[in-house]
Amino acid sequence: MFRPLHLTPYIKFRCPFPNPRLFTLSALSLANKALPPRLKIQDADVTISYLKGTGPGGQKINKTNSAVQLIHKPTGVVVKSQATRSRSQNEKIARQLLADKVEQLLHGDQSRAAIKADRARKKKASKTKKSRRKYRELEDGNESPEAEEDDAQEVDHPNEGGAVGAEEQSPRQLPSQQNLQQEQK
């Protein structure tokens, strides 16, 4: 309540909502650990082919397809990119893809791509877990609104506050119920 005014321009002191929600950053511990460096692939190991169509080319045909295919000779990994119209850009993208793929082949679970995927999965799992917990708490809170500590402390008139809180929570009832139903299934 004693925050300087300029930091909280949108929160009025006589706040209509009983508990201004405080935000917390999550999953910091997962993200801040550096990924292993990208694998450097030697130019000599890579065969580049520009996937020209069969038949004559050059001035006779105006090709818009600038797909680039890279083959990593030692492992036999093949990668193709046709994301952009620029051949050099496509080559850059294909090289990155190739490095990721080769690394995954060499290092398996310890590779950059695998670690990235693992982190994304963990983050998602914790997110769903948190949201599930939140809806469960909301569900519990609906049944007994006075159980919420913040409400009891900050609001002068608990009856009014409870009414406002219930109004605020009512739109969230629907998703919470759906969530529960999903869980039951």
């Binding site: 006779k60 105006n62 397809n65 046709q82 620029s86």
Partner: protein
Amino acid sequence: MPRIPNRTILNAYRQDPLLPLLFQECRSLSLAKNELRWLRDRAVHMAQLNLAKGAVASKYPFHGWRSLLRSMCRARSRGLPLQYILGDQPFGNLDIRCERGVLIPRPETETFTFHAADLILHDMLNNRHFPAEDRAKCLRIIDLCTGTGCISLLLHALIAPHVQEMSILGVDISATAIGLARKNLVHNIRRGYLSDNALMDITFRQGNVLDDIRDILGSSIHTGPPDVIISNPPYISQQSFGDGTTTRSVRKFEPRIALVPPKDDCMSELPLNRQEDIFYYHILALSFRLKTSLVMLECGDLSQGKRVATLCNDLAAEYSQVGNLRICIWPAADSGLQCSEPCVVIVQRYD
């Protein structure tokens, strides 16, 4: 051209109603999808720009990006090249503007230009045949039949960081092409793809390679003979322009003057039996007179490349400069090059 089965077209229509339009030109689903993606990105971008400007003054009358995209797809289905619709084509790290009346840069030319820059940097500048006192001197490059100016601009982007001084002269017969080449030069400098020096180093000049090329070179900024001549001249024969190997889109929308060499009355005087090789004769003769150290000529296919190499040998004998020449065709015939794909004839001179 093989017919596309109805089932394929129907499948494409289910994915996006605009895909069958693009099928008429692309003939393959993956390419049609790619083109649709690029067109859609551009349509959305242009619609946003127009919204921001609040102006309706555009090439396409439209209300939003959907109708714009539809009109783009319709133009594409009639064979209008994608690069003319979008107005640009990536070339190396550059962005080359494309307009009607000027040949669109081809990906093969891009590959050849990279190879040319490699040759110039590694073989010429680091070679003992190229004396050290020469290296400090200005590197002079002439790009004949420059079109959009793509080769000149990319060579400058690739070589300029490694040499002290260089000057590039681009020559083309078409005034439209010269105008567009100058526009491209300014455009790429403004976008930061080329250094500011490029404005001083690169000049474009109108001129006829078959006729008065010496006058142009004489009056140019070049203080001496050029070190490198590079060219992508028109090389399609009259016959293959008409017999279907040249695609509809190219035939209908790209300038014929940039594709097919003109009929020349004095053909019988020249040691040529093919009219499509006429540019090579003039360029090679020029290079022998000026004693250029590197000549790179793009050819339509391997047989034309071989003809040009033979022509080069004959001319070398005529000018009695046989001993110190190395003539080769790149990419080499045994490296999986198909006979019908373009190649480049490289003539290197060691003094």
